[in-house]
Structures are given as structure tokens and as C-alpha cells.
């Protein structure tokens, strides 16, 4: 844990503060689990923990791509639609064309990559705001999905067992789904700290003009971020189908806002330049744990959304407070330096 996203030249105290986000989230998750367990001892049973991990896994996977995009000061609102389209097309191919299981994952991923390609090209070649482009794509892809689905519904019976196994089988008690996503998160987390090209994403988000002057190929990097986000959304579509074992035209509706919420709760600054994929994944996990905790604590599930919203507001207010404090402490440190 050497590099701190997007910030260089801060003192060790600053590093510790910023890095504390992942720790803070873990503590929060542990607290929620602890409190809920006291109220309802069934909460930590293997079954319920597995549900929590599987549920969070899809959002964590989407969160990885979204993090890369948001770090470059962009946003991808099309992920929910891409997930829905990929999930249905894969289900359709299983039902009517009996494709092999492995290709189910490949095709979903490729559909996502194609969507990411279009997003990335429009944003970087035409230089138009990604918020608008991906909002348009949200509609277009959802519409295409609806036209293809045309009232159809893919049932569990049409999907091969070895495909849905990813959704329900476990290894050492951990769902395969969670393992796959954990591997992606770990890989992306490593890459984001160590690779030059990934560090350049932070530079672009921190200060686009300075990044351009430093010779960073902004267009190519931003394009890659969208391509990866689309690709992971496509893969998430395949995994969605494996987990839920049925799909019609409304898979993943509204996911884009949940993903952005998870990512921002996970400490990724909405205006780019800082944050980590591990934080984003933990943000997704926290939202899901709270979700399940409400059920276990027999609090009405109707509170779910209200709590998620309040959590997001708290997270950004906290980040703001933190950054003000950091700035102030840096300024006073500088002042002390001058006095010497």
C-alpha cells in the first residue's frame, strides 16, 4: 500500500488519512454485522453471508469499471443497460442456440466491450461530455434490449447447470461469483497502483490541462477507461444471468445510480483524480450488508433506499471535511516551515 490515489507530495499523516478510507469502510461493515448479529444471530450464518457476497459482487465488478472512468473526471451511466443487454443475449443464445457454457461468458463480455467502445469513441473523438453521451446510451441500449427481448423471458430451465453453478456453488464457503470478482478487483487494484498508464488516469482526473502538457495521451487513456467499464459491465451481465438464472428486458434497470453511489461511498471523488477500486468494492459490499442487515433486524426493507441515500450524502460531506482539514494542515505545516 505505497501509492495513494492521485495525490503526491503529501506528508505521511495525509497519506494515512486518505488510506484510512478502506479501513474505515471495513470497520463500518464489521460494526453493521456485529450490531445485526446481536439482534439476530442467524445473520452470520453461512447462507446469509454468501448471499451478501454474491449480491455485492456484481456491483463491485461494475464499480471497478466505474471507478476507472470517474477517476478520469468522466462518468458511465450506461452500465445498467449494458448489463441487461448482455445478460439477455447470453440467455437467448443458451435457450435457442445451445451455445457452449464458456462462450456465455465470452459473448457477454464482448457485448459489453462493444458498448464501451462506442461510449469511448464518442466521448474522446467528438469530445462531448460523458454524462450526456452515456445517458443517451442508457436509453439506446435499453431500447435495443427491449426490441430484441420483445416480451420473451429466459427461464432457469433454458440455462445450462454448469453456467448457473457460478452463481450458487462455493469454494471453501465462498461463492465462485465473489471469488471471480475478488480476483478482478485485486488485479485492477494492483494495476491502478503500479502501472504507469493507470497512474496517468489519476493525473488526467486531477488536472487535465497539466496532464496534456505532461504528454499524457488523454484521449487514449479515457477511451481505455470506457472500454474497460463496458467490458466489465458485459461480464457482469453474464454473471447476473448465472446468479439470477432468469432474465427478461429489465435486468439491471437503475443499477447505474447504485454503482455510482457505491463508488462514491467507497471514497472515489466524483470529480476525478482520487479513489481506489478496493474502496469502491468495499462501498458496494457495505451497501449490500446494510441491505441484508435490515432484513435480518426485521426493520422494514422500505428503509433501504433512504439509508443508502443518507449514506452517500454523509460520505461526500465527510470527504469534503477531510479534504478541507488536509488542506489546512498542509498550509499550517508550510507556515511553520517558513518560520524556520
Amino acid at each position: 500500500m505505497t501509492a495513494v490515489p492521485g495525490r503526491t507530495g503529501g506528508g505521511p499523516a495525509v497519506l494515512a488519512l486518505l488510506r484510512a478510507r478502506e479501513v474505515g469502510l471495513l470497520v463500518l461493515i464489521a460494526l453493521v454485522v456485529l450490531i445485526t448479529t446481536v439482534k439476530n444471530s442467524h445473520f452470520v450464518e453461512a447462507n446469509s453471508v454468501q448471499q451478501m457476497l454474491s449480491g455485492a459482487a456484481l456491483f463491485a465488478l461494475l464499480g471497478v469499471g466505474e471507478t476507472l472512468v470517474i477517476i478520469t473526471r468522466n462518468v458511465d451511466l450506461s452500465v445498467g443497460s449494458v448489463l441487461g443487454l448482455a445478460a439477455y443475449v447470453v440467455g437467448y443464445l443458451f435457450k435457442y442456440h445451445h451455445i457452449p457454457v464458456w462462450s456465455g461468458f465470452l459473448i457477454g463480455t464482448l457485448i459489453g466491450a462493444a458498448a464501451g467502445l462506442v461510449n469511448g469513441l464518442i466521448v474522446t473523438v467528438l469530445r462531448v461530455p460523458s454524462l450526456v453521451v452515456t445517458l443517451g446510451m442508457l436509453y439506446v441500449i435499453r431500447g435495443i434490449d427491449g426490441v430484441i427481448v420483445n416480451g420473451d423471458q429466459i427461464d432457469p430451465a433454458s440455462i445450462p447447470n454448469s453456467f448457473t453453478a457460478v452463481g450458487y456453488r462455493t469454494f471453501l464457503g465462498v461463492p465462485w461469483l465473489a471469488i471471480i470478482v475478488a480476483v478482478v478487483v485485486a488485479g485492477a487494484g494492483y494495476a491502478m497502483r503500479s502501472f504507469r498508464s493507470s497512474r496517468e488516469l489519476y493525473a488526467i482526473g486531477s488536472n487535465p490541462d497539466a496532464a496534456a502538457l505532461a504528454g499524457i495521451p488523454i484521449g487514449r487513456r479515457v477511451f481505455s477507461a470506457f472500454l474497460i467499464s463496458g467490458t466489465l459491465a458485459g461480464l457482469a451481465g453474464s454473471l447476473f444471468l448465472a446468479l439470477h438464472t432468469q432474465i427478461n428486458n429489465n435486468g439491471g434497470i437503475g443499477y447505474e445510480l447504485i454503482v455510482v453511489t457505491a463508488v462514491v461511498v467507497g471514497g472515489v471523488a466524483i470529480f476525478g483524480g482520487s479513489g481506489s477500486v478496493v474502496g469502491a468494492a468495499l462501498g458496494a459490499l457495505l451497501l449490500n450488508v446494510i441491505n441484508q442487515a435490515l432484513v435480518a433486524a426485521r426493520i422494514s426493507a422500505f428503509w433501504n433506499q433512504a439509508i443508502a441515500g443518507a449514506l452517500l450524502l454523509t460520505a461526500i460531506a465527510f470527504d469534503r471535511w477531510l479534504s478541507l482539514r488536509v488542506t489546512r494542515s498542509l498550509q499550517s505545516a508550510e507556515g511553520a516551515h517558513h518560520e524556520l
Binding site: V125, L126, V133, L138, Y139, V149, I270, Q305, A306, I316
Partner: protein, 356 residues
């Protein structure tokens, strides 16, 4: 990169040479509105050729019913986007307001008192957005995604799985729910459309002919310069978010009355339609650019296209594609020319190193 800067710098000089004094953004916006008029004409032509019912008077009434309350939210959102912020919580506020009325009605309140409370809820919710954005300096996109979830969540807490009026409840006063069934006497205008048109005139005057409107443009173009010029940036932004909350709450009451019933998920997802209408109307997502005329034209285009497509049995899915493509066009067309120039420049420059 350098040629890019050069063309940008050269462009205003060329354009101001032609028409003395007229700011180039105004002419740019004007061109966009002309384009919208052409698109509107094309949509109306398309509708009247394809659908035998399109030219019937009732089309206007149903257009108003379907679009009026959404269009009402588009007006304050236009103002908010003009100042460089965004409000994604409008549809959830619509839901919270309608659910508040439903909840109070269920508990025996007078309908007008319930309306007043709902509007108050709108003001408080808008103020929450405004304080977080204007006074704490938080990014409005994140804040309003948060309140989008929060407001909808509170609506869910209020109503749960109930549909109001539920068994044992009084029906809403028929004099009020009639706005969903009857048009204004002597015309085919729906009440919600009339209210939108009146508000649009007021919003247009404020934006284009008052100091407040000029201040909003200034804030959108150069927030810091606006601050130094003595514009009360925070107060204006706070006010706009409150306005947005109140009008969204009002739209919620209208929508509820038109349907004569309410569930907590009323209007879910409409925020994206609202933003699509505003941006297609030529309002820049970066703030400072846009006109109310453009937004009104955009409402007319989106509304009549939806009517025409529905009448000729085009599925909601295909209509989604149309909405998305319109939105993409609205950003690609104005930027397309510049992008082409960039590509051409790059192609032209490429042979040089080989030659040298």
C-alpha cells in the same frame, strides 16, 4: 493541440466580424433553436402522414397529460443547469410529494392542507440540496444522486406497498382529479400543459430579461468572476434548488391527481427524461448557455414524437432508442464540426515529419 487552440481563438474573431456586436454564443444558440423548429416541423409532418389520429384535437390533450408535469420540472432544472449544477433528485421529489399527499389523505387530512405540506416538503428537500451544494461546496451530481435515493426511500417509508386511495379511503375530490380527464373549457389544452406554458413565459422573462437571469448565465460561464462581480452565487444557487424542489413537488401533485391514485414509485426514472429534454433543448451541460425557447421546443418535439410513435404502435422500447439518439445528436451535432476539423488537421499534419 496547438492548432486546436488556434482555431478556437480564430473562430470568435471571424464571427464577430460579420455581425457587429452580437455575442457569438447567442447566434450559436439561435441556430440550435432554428434546427429545433425544423425538427418539430418534421415530427408534426411525420405524425400527420403516418397516423390518422395525429391531427385530431385530442392528441394535444393527451400530449399535455403525458408531458405537462415532466415539462414543469424541466424549467427549474434548466435554471440549475444554466448555473453549472445539476438536479437529479426531481423525480424522487415528485414521488415524495405525491406520497406525502397520499399518506396524509390516508390519515384523514384535508386535501388542501396535504398539498401545502407536500409543497413544504419540496422546499425543505430543495433546501437540503441547495445548502449541501452552495454552502458546503459539494458536487451537485453526487448530492442529488444521494437525495434521489433518499427522497424515494422516504416515499417508500411513507406508503410502503399501499396504493392510495386504498380500501376504506375516501376517493380524491373528483373536482381535482378531473384534470386528468377533462381539458380546459373550450380548448384541448390540459391543465398541466397550461400551467407549464404560463411558467415557461415567466421563466423565459426571468432568464433573458432580468438581472437575475444574467447573473445565472454569468455564474454558469465563470463562477469565480461572477462572485467577484458581486453576484450572490451561493444565494442564487440555493434559491434555484429550492425552486426545483417546490416545482417538482407541485408536479407530483399534478401527476397524482391526473392518475387519481398514488404509489411510492410514482414517476421513477423521470429525472433522466427531464435532463434529456433540457439538454436536447440546447442547454449546455457545462452551464451558461441555453434558452427557454429551446426547452419549450424540446418539450414540443419530445411530446409530439411520443404521441405519434404511440399512435402508430411503436413500442416503448423503440421510443427509448429515439430518446437516446436525440440526446446523442444534441451533443454530437454542435461538436461534430470541430471534431471533423481536428481529424482533418491531424491528417494534414501527419505527412510533415516524413517530409522533414
Amino acid at each position: 493541440m496547438s492548432s486546436d487552440v488556434a482555431t478556437r481563438a480564430a473562430a470568435p474573431a471571424e464571427s464577430t466580424g460579420g455581425t457587429s456586436g452580437a455575442p457569438s454564443w447567442w447566434r450559436g444558440a439561435l441556430r440550435w433553436e432554428v434546427g429545433l423548429v425544423v425538427v418539430l416541423a418534421a415530427v408534426l409532418l411525420f405524425g400527420s402522414i403516418k397516423s390518422p389520429h395525429f391531427t385530431e384535437a385530442s392528441t394535444l390533450f393527451y400530449l399535455g397529460i403525458n408531458t405537462g408535469y415532466v415539462a414543469i420540472m424541466a424549467l427549474p432544472v434548466t435554471f440549475v443547469i444554466m448555473t453549472g449544477e445539476i438536479d437529479l433528485s426531481v423525480a424522487s421529489m415528485l414521488g415524495l410529494s405525491a406520497s406525502t399527499v397520499g399518506y396524509l389523505w390516508h390519515h384523514g387530512w384535508n386535501v388542501w392542507a396535504a398539498f401545502a405540506v407536500a409543497l413544504l416538503v419540496g422546499a425543505v428537500g430543495g433546501a437540503l440540496n441547495g445548502v449541501l451544494v452552495a454552502h458546503f461546496g459539494l458536487p451537485s451530481i453526487a448530492v442529488t444522486i444521494g437525495t434521489l435515493t433518499l427522497f424515494r426511500g422516504l416515499a417508500e417509508v411513507l406508503l410502503g406497498s399501499l396504493t392510495i386511495p386504498t380500501i376504506g379511503d375516501r376517493q380524491f375530490p373528483s373536482g381535482l382529479t378531473d384534470i386528468g380527464a377533462n381539458s380546459l373549457p373550450g380548448s384541448q389544452l390540459s391543465w398541466s400543459m397550461l400551467i407549464f406554458l404560463v411558467l415557461a413565459v415567466v421563466f423565459g422573462i426571468v432568464l433573458h430579461f432580468t438581472a437575475l437571469g444574467r447573473s445565472m448565465v454569468a455564474i454558469g460561464l465563470q463562477p469565480e468572476a461572477a462572485q467577484f462581480a458581486g453576484i450572490r452565487v451561493r444565494r442564487i444557487k440555493l434559491g434555484l434548488f429550492v425552486l426545483s424542489g417546490v416545482l417538482s413537488a407541485f408536479a407530483g401533485i399534478l401527476d397524482m391527481l391526473q392518475q387519481a391514485s398514488v404509489t411510492y414509485d410514482i414517476g421513477t426514472g423521470l429525472e433522466l427524461n427531464v435532463v434529456a429534454i433540457v439538454l436536447f433543448g440546447g442547454v449546455s451541460i457545462f452551464g451558461g448557455r441555453g434558452t427557454i425557447v429551446g426547452v419549450v421546443l424540446s418539450v414540443a418535439i419530445v411530446g409530439s414524437l411520443q404521441m405519434a410513435l404511440t399512435q402508430i404502435n411503436v413500442s416503448a422500447d423503440k421510443q427509448n432508442i429515439v430518446t437516446g439518439v436525440l440526446l446523442l445528436i444534441s451533443v454530437i451535432v454542435p461538436n461534430g464540426g470541430e471534431a471533423l476539423r481536428r481529424v482533418r488537421d491531424r491528417l494534414r499534419r501527419r505527412p510533415l515529419p516524413r517530409a522533414g
